[in-house]
């Protein structure tokens, strides 16, 4: 195995957050390389597939991270007291959807779209670090602004918020509804 691949592997094993091109090059320091990280990762991915490792490299939040393959979930669950990851409630998912498409947003923005108070969803999402508070609105109320975090991208396996499914236009949704009725 060539040294660059090993370095990337070591970094992937040691990092708790996505390894981006920029961080990779910062770590290399003087051993600068012209080789892009993506290419090295490709090589590693091929190795892992060939040797049937229980994990693979996932492109997420603008970088790379090692994640376990889905088939081992039943065993990994046993490591956690609450039988694996906690699922988000419908209310929390709605809130998250609104923030991710409209960010930065205030609590008011969220509540006026949902039509219900959203304090407890916001709290859950802040607790789970899926949202973060990011400054204040300029207006007279100076309300706190909310945004999605890197953990949000990881949680949904996205590379960036641009990869979110497109928010459909009202006309499309209604057209489909009508078809359903026929």
């Amino acid at each position: 195995m060539n040294e660059l691949k090993q370095i990337v592997e070591a970094l992937l094993i040691a990092t708790p957050e996505p390894l981006t091109e920029a961080r990779f090059h910062a770590c290399l320091g003087e051993n600068e390389t012209k080789l892009p990280l993506a290419e090295i990762v490709e090589g590693l991915t091929a190795d892992y597939e060939k040797s049937e490792r229980a994990y693979f490299i996932k492109e997420v939040a603008g970088g790379y991270q090692i994640v376990t393959r889905a088939e081992f979930e039943p065993y990994i669950k046993g490591l956690f007291s609450k039988s694996g990851k906690l699922r988000l409630s419908q209310a929390a998912l709605e809130t998250l959807a609104i923030v991710s498409y409209k960010q930065p947003v205030t609590r008011n923005d969220i509540e006026s779209i949902r039509g219900v108070s959203s304090d407890s969803s916001l709290r859950t999402l802040l607790d789970r670090k899926l949202l973060e508070i990011r400054g204040r609105e300029d207006g007279p109320g100076r309300a706190l602004l909310y945004r999605t975090s890197i953990e949000f991208l990881q949680y949904f396996g996205l590379n960036s918020v641009k990869d979110l499914p497109r928010l459909r236009e009202v006309e499309d949704i209604l057209a489909e509804d009508e078809e359903d009725l026929i």
């Binding site: 957050e17 994640v67 393959r69 979930e73 779209i113 973060e132 396996g157 459909r168």
Partner: protein, 244 residues
């Protein structure tokens, strides 16, 4: 029309807009031409139930009921057009809200699907992410503004009076508590800090025990782990722990 109302039905709805969309779909209504009298009546039945069940979203339902009744009243008023001015349908604002909500509700389904497909994957969590890390206390990853505000709130709440450095009658010494903890750790692989605290009545003993843990941490006789802010501290044997 008689509605079969159950608690479960109502809890299924995320709010008044969700309920309205359900009624529109169920009765195959045209969203751009909602029969406001009919829908208000049906909606009110649900709101009555929400109040009886004391759902915490009941207030939001009542508010929407008021809006519906206001629209209904305005639609009963005779329309007096002035010149070329277009008369706005009193329902327009509500319709726009419903449509906007519908977009996000649909996106929510996509989010749930993404959540499901990511669920079986677990990220690599580095065991010793920083071998050269000198600070052996629990390290919090990725501190956010929210953590700062929670921490401050927590500290202020627990801050009754400034601790002065007056010398109290010593009930227990540091060395005694180090010995006590070592003994416990011989028998148990892990100790819960909260569990230890429950054993002591005196605040001073608690403080001395905590100092003893810090002392042992410094000497690497113990390791302390905390998975989340304000979670319990788990104390286990460190690399220099001496077995008797």
């Amino acid at each position: 029309m008689k509605n079969q109302l159950h608690r479960i039905d109502l809890e299924m709805f995320e709010g008044p807009l969700d309920l309205l969309l359900f009624l529109i779909k169920r009765d195959e209504l045209n969203i751009y031409d909602i029969p406001i009298a009919q829908i208000t009546k049906n909606f009110l039945d649900y709101v009555q139930l929400a109040k009886e069940l004391q759902l915490h979203t009941a207030g939001d339902f009542v508010l929407m009921a008021a809006t519906l009744m206001k629209i209904k009243a305005r639609m009963l008023l005779p329309i007096e057009a002035e010149g070329d001015e277009e008369i706005e349908d009193p329902r327009t604002e509500l319709i726009n809200m419903l449509l906007e909500y519908k977009r996000y509700k649909e996106a929510t389904t996509a989010f749930a699907a993404m959540e499901r497909s990511e669920r079986p994957h677990y990220y690599n969590i580095p065991a010793a992410w920083s071998p050269q890390q000198e600070d052996h206390t629990a390290i919090l990853e990725d501190v956010k503004l929210y953590d700062i505000m929670l921490t401050f709130q927590y500290l202020i709440k627990n801050y009754e009076e400034p601790l002065t450095h007056s010398v109290a009658v010593e009930e227990v010494t540091l060395t005694e508590q180090v010995g006590f903890l070592s003994g416990l750790l011989q028998a148990n692989a892990r100790l819960s800090f909260a569990g230890l605290l429950a054993k002591f009545e005196s605040r001073l003993v608690v403080v001395v025990t905590f100092l003893a843990i810090l002392e042992m941490l410094r000497n690497r006789q113990v390791k302390v782990k905390q998975s989340n802010l304000f979670d319990d501290l788990l104390i286990s044997r460190g690399s220099n722990f001496e077995n008797e």
